[in-house]
């Protein structure tokens, strides 16, 4: 098949089973966009900023498990894509970023809209390519897609000069290719798995800790099965929220800086932690020297470089989370592992009970917990929650319960404000059947509010919930707690009228000032089949608690007022 380089990209995207791409055109991608105009098998969604295209591709990938594709032009288009690419890198999200580049003859001459995107993207991608010979495209495209979603997933970037896009090539797309320097080890070593099983059977106070790898490898069932087989409590990180049904009696919520007291209690008192697909981020460990002081750690990860990077593992196992857990389950069955009703499980259960505070606050101004309480009651079963970054994100992590994977989408590693709305749009494109709710703060939303135009124009109705306190709340909270209440650069003051803003973009909005109005607002939003925004005025003085102070130990969470009972119980049940 003789086609242009640009068409070759489209063919590859389709053959990988991907139905959407997100982009923003410009001079150096004109030949490619010319092919898009003639394309019928693929939907191109025009965002209003390249950053939006990148996050939308991430949202698409996070909601569907498929590789998300985003496109920009050279120079500023590509530099605008760097934030979502870095975001996908830290969260191991499979996206393919395609940037236009000036014609090969001009590369290196400081041509109009030229930037060394190959060099710029290099440290924030799993791998990247600069295509100088169009004939290499089929091979490079296959390699790029394979790299995005196999092994430890991640972003891949292709820099595509304008003349390469228009060059006519013989297109033979390989079914699979061998990449000599890239052979992920999928199966865990049998001896290591046997040792892990024995350690689990012999542990007195075991705990499962699941990370984003559970979602990438679809290991949620195996993870739950393991917890059930051993009647072992389990915590999941922000990246793994939903990898175990959060209503499950053995699930303790998220650990770490803004996690649940019971989750941190379990970590700090366990004598064995089986960690799967997590990288012991500093937001999870707190002060690493005080992390899980009694525990031996079994660390399962597909990326060898994660083993021993942040926390020393007693038993490292390299492999795919799902396959290793399957083998581990089989081994435990062989060893006749049984759920034992021990003191540890009783204590954890008692603390979990004490940790279930009443957060249906009646106060005005509204406290964020109340919004999440109402959302928990009335969000449809097929909802996908997407968040921006800040207090609202941590409140949502803490108080929303999701029952399955890919239902809670958040920028975990990079903590990118402005992630939520475009990611929600991407998620909606991937899952049109789902109700997609962007949980946002006023600060984050203003970074990307132009994407409301995308949602309306591309008919991807999402619900935006703005937690509006006129402040950059999380930064303010740190200034309040750790910088003597010197509020430097955090007061947003007169924000736009978000309701009118939604209307200006062609959506609908409602302002909510009292707790009693929240339910009705959400009900209207879920019925509306268009962009719907709820602007909810919240109390700026209400801090996101409990919290592990920066550099502090997980054992020393600053409690919220609602934590009184659980703190007492934890003290009583300390090991």
């Amino acid at each position: 098949m003789k086609i242009s380089g640009g068409k070759a990209v489209l063919e590859a995207v389709k053959r990988e089973g991907i139905g959407h791409m997100f982009g923003f055109p410009g001079g150096a991608v004109l030949p490619f966009y010319d092919e898009i105009a003639a394309e019928t098998g693929l939907v191109h969604i025009l965002t209003r900023h390249e950053q939006g295209a990148g996050h939308a591709a991430e949202g698409y990938a996070r909601a569907s498990g498929k590789t998300g594709v985003c496109v920009s032009t050279s120079g500023p288009g590509g530099t605008n894509l760097t934030t979502p690419v870095a975001d996908a890198f830290l969260d191991s999200i499979p996206i393919l970023a395609i940037t236009g580049q000036v014609v090969t003859d001009l590369i290196g001459n400081d041509a109009f809209q030229e930037a060394d995107l190959f060099g710029i993207m290099m440290p924030i991608t799993k791998h990247n390519f600069k295509v100088l010979d169009a004939n290499e495209l089929p091979h490079i495209l296959k390699m790029a897609f394979k790299l995005t979603h196999t092994g430890r997933p991640g972003p891949v970037h292709i820099d595509l000069p304008k003349d390469v896009q228009s060059a006519i090539i013989d297109f033979n797309y390989p079914d699979d290719i061998v990449i000599p320097g890239y052979q992920p080890n999928l199966r865990g070593h049998p001896n290591q798995i046997k040792r892990a099983a024995e350690m689990l059977v012999n542990a007195e106070r075991p705990l499962l800790l699941g990370g984003g790898g559970l979602i990438s490898s679809s290991a949620h069932q195996e993870f739950t099965a393991l917890a059930e087989m051993l009647a072992c409590p389990a915590v999941t990180t922000l990246m793994a929220k939903g990898a175990m049904d959060e209503n499950h009696p053995l699930h303790l919520g998220q650990p770490g800086m803004h996690g649940r007291q019971v989750a941190n209690y379990a970590i700090q008192n366990a004598d064995l932690i089986l960690a799967v697909g997590c990288r012991f981020d500093d937001r999870i460990t707190g002060k690493v020297q005080t992390f899980a002081p009694h525990a031996k750690i079994i660390h399962i990860d597909i990326d060898t470089a994660e083993l021993g990077k942040n926390v020393a593992a007693t038993l490292p196992i390299v492999g795919d989370a799902r396959l290793v857990l399957q083998d581990l389950l089989a081994m435990l069955k062989k060893l006749n592992a049984k759920a034992a009703d021990t003191e540890w499980k009783k204590r954890v259960h008692a603390i979990k009970e004490a940790c279930n505070c009443n957060y249906a606050y009646e106060e005005t101004p509204i406290r964020p917990e109340r919004i999440l309480y109402e959302l928990g009651l009335c969000a449809p079963k097929n909802s996908i929650f997407v968040t921006e970054v800040g207090q609202h994100q941590m409140f949502a992590m803490h108080f929303i319960k999701v029952d399955g994977p890919r239902k809670y989408i958040s920028s975990g590693g990079l903590g990118t404000m402005g992630f939520g709305l475009p990611a929600a749009i991407g998620a909606k494109a991937a899952r049109p059947d789902a109700t997609v709710i962007d949980i946002s703060g006023d600060g984050s939303l203003l970074m990307v509010n132009q994407e409301m135009a995308t949602a309306v124009e591309s008919n991807l109705p999402v619900v935006i919930t703005v937690f509006n306190n006129s402040w950059l709340g999380m930064v303010r909270q740190w200034q309040k707690m750790f910088f003597g209440k010197r509020y430097s650069g955090t007061h947003l003051g007169q924000s736009p009228d978000f309701v009118k803003l939604a209307e200006a973009y062609g959506g609908e909005g409602v302002r909510i000032e009292k707790p009693g109005e929240i339910k009705e607002g959400f009900e209207r939003a879920f019925k509306a089949n268009h962009l719907f925004l709820l602007e909810i005025d919240i109390d700026p003085e209400w801090d996101c608690l409990p919290m592990v102070p920066p550099g502090g130990s997980n054992s020393g969470m600053i409690p919220s007022k609602a934590c009184t009972n659980v703190v007492k119980k934890m003290h009583e049940y300390k090991y």
Partner: protein, 173 residues
């Protein structure tokens, strides 16, 4: 496994010299990727050599760096993770041949200095590759300790210029 380099480069306590040997694909950008693994963490490469191997498309890179065992272990893992690296190992010096070439231009204006330098060169099996009116260029091959020792000896004559290739290494059978 690692040798303390006269204590000079071991500027941080417990830091030693490590030799990392890699097989990499011979493509543009590979060096930048590898350099990125070092610079991102603020580590310096003391020396680096790159050359083709007997396999077409595959190059050998030998890098020396100073660090401790934990740092180097993490570096090796990060380097192995790069798609274009085929093999990464830390060179065990006792089981390998390690060599470096140095060219040194020494001040030697008179017969006495020339004959004395020639004498040292003979002991170290170094070669005189150029003789000028007031200086000569000596080529010396060896591990870095031998080269350091030779340089220490001829330093009093006045070193006008020094070029070292950096280490390269090969495992013994």
């Amino acid at each position: 496994m690692a040798t303390e380099r006269n204590g000079k480069e071991a500027n941080q306590i417990g830091h030693k010299l490590y030799i990392i040997s890699m097989l990499v694909e011979d493509r543009f950008g590979v060096l930048q990727r590898i350099a990125g693994v070092f610079s991102r963490r603020g580590f310096n490469m003391d020396t680096i050599t790159v050359g083709k191997t007997h396999t077409p498309g595959v190059s050998r890179m030998t890098i020396t760096t100073t660090g401790n065992e934990k740092i180097v272990e993490q570096m090796v893992k990060q380097l192995s993770k790069l798609v274009e690296t085929l093999k990464v190992s830390v060179v065990n010096e006792t089981e390998s041949v390690v060599r470096e070439i140095a060219l040194v231009k020494v001040h030697s204006p008179d017969f006495v200095s020339r004959s004395e330098i020639l004498n040292y060169a003979g002991i170290f099996r170094a070669k005189i590759v150029n003789v000028g009116k007031s200086s000569m260029i000596i080529e010396i091959t060896g591990d870095y300790e031998k080269i350091d020792a030779f340089l220490d000896l001829i330093k009093p004559f006045g070193i006008k210029e020094l070029v070292r290739t950096g280490l390269t290494a090969m495992m013994r059978e």
